[in-house]
Subunit: 153 residues, 4 copies
């Protein structure tokens, strides 16, 4: 993976503040595990109330942490006044989401003034071993002036 320079030195505080406002993260018990330029990890312990019919974490729950990991990876390289919106993503599910803890690793593949392309691999950790369970590619958009989207983060 390439290394990126943030355009706003205060990107870490912005991302942590924005993450704290994503109420869904507290609801499912997810945490920011890494905040670096173009590289965000979000961790989610397994919980029995987040599952599909076979007792694995629901694919949409995995998507929550993968999407936010991509979104904040993109935001980490944007100017301070930018907000970020998800344009689209695709997820391939590689294995059942079984394990003690999931980590979504969002990485910037191609930054841009308007559009940023990110990928996220999601791994499940069981007894210290990692297994990749899903992979996402997504497009994120920097928003500077949309009245329906609050500015700042």
């Amino acid at each position: 993976m390439p290394s990126w320079e943030p355009s706003d030195a205060g990107y870490q505080a912005r991302i942590r503040a924005s993450f704290a406002r994503q109420s869904i993260m507290a609801t499912i018990g997810a945490d920011l595990a890494k905040v670096a330029p173009g590289a965000i990890d979000i961790a989610l312990p397994y919980r029995g109330d987040l599952t599909q019919q076979h007792g694995f974490l629901h694919a949409g729950v995995i998507t929550i942490i993968a999407d936010s990991a991509c979104g904040y990876a993109a935001l980490s390289l944007m100017p301070a006044r930018a907000s970020v919106l998800t344009v689209e993503y695709k997820v391939n599910l590689l294995a059942p989401a079984a394990g003690e803890r999931m980590i979504a690793r969002g990485r910037v593949l191609k930054p841009g003034k308007t559009l940023t392309v990110c990928t996220a691999d999601v791994v499940a950790i069981s007894e210290g071993r990692e297994k990749t369970i899903a992979t996402m590619t997504g497009t994120l958009m920097a928003i500077y002036d949309r009245p329906d989207v609050p500015a700042g983060f």
Copy 2:
């Protein structure tokens, strides 16, 4: 949309039982709103603890109901002994998920013995008016004999 014939007359009971086992649905407050051959609707009232940083429902939450709507739409046409797994999906986000209630409408586009392709449109309802906020296309797989996936539903 075409109309489809279920291969198992008991598909409705199977889907309702499976949905009841998806613990995430109770956690976020989602309900089965329609169960027909190849056509499943899942409804989700807005809740302040399911949001991203701007107060809209998180895209991953929208994906939860869209994915399950596609999965059950596919399952509705499968034999009684089949389980269903999601292979992949892509979501394009068309508008912020603002409104009183979201409905994901999963529809079978192309059924198959092994793979079924579905689409889901997600609408937001505000004061009786619908707005499409997201669209999904996904691939679902019928599982007959995988030891890691419980049979039946």
Copy 3:
């Protein structure tokens, strides 16, 4: 499908001129079959030199006409000074591309100042009967000021 208003009355001439500059279309023998606001059809007769290993048209060839049908559908609603670039697309292949003639039907799902979301269904026609063989969803971008992209169309 909704009906759309073009923002530039000369959109048809712009699209036909741009299509004529897509040299790949002459190379594979594709034609503009419909040019309407937000709705473009591109037709491609079967040819034996465009196939994959089983003698069906290659999925990438189908993607050529689906992508351009989406791109011109998006462009049909953009101002005269805009160019259009493809951001991303996803294609689900539903059946082998066998038949006398393929038609890709690109339709605007959600227009926007910067981004437009389109879908394209591709049908194969054999002895007067249509069969859907592929479906695309894609994101197109209006370009107004990128020095690496010629303006105008």
Copy 4:
């Protein structure tokens, strides 16, 4: 990237024979540049008759080589009696396809008895320098008994 073991020692000959039957490859001038287990490269020199309206290679042309690179990467790990079909793919376009030569690098991400997930990065080479212009994730299916698909490759 992980390393994979082929299940059929004759995979190289099978892939080269199948590639030779993909008539589109000769039509556009593409060549097999690498054939290894789970890793296939396809190279395509720039040609003026394969372009979109700005003179860059058409995204669908890039998709032709990326799809076949993924398909043969998947096939390289399948039993000798398997055929391979593309289920779906998504392409994010990262930069205009300008350069002397394109290389699509298909890699297996997750092999499976029925479904294999692959990725392909496509790079443009200009004056000896590489630039990534597109990235694909796709799902490929092993076919053993479909009467509409010739067995063998």
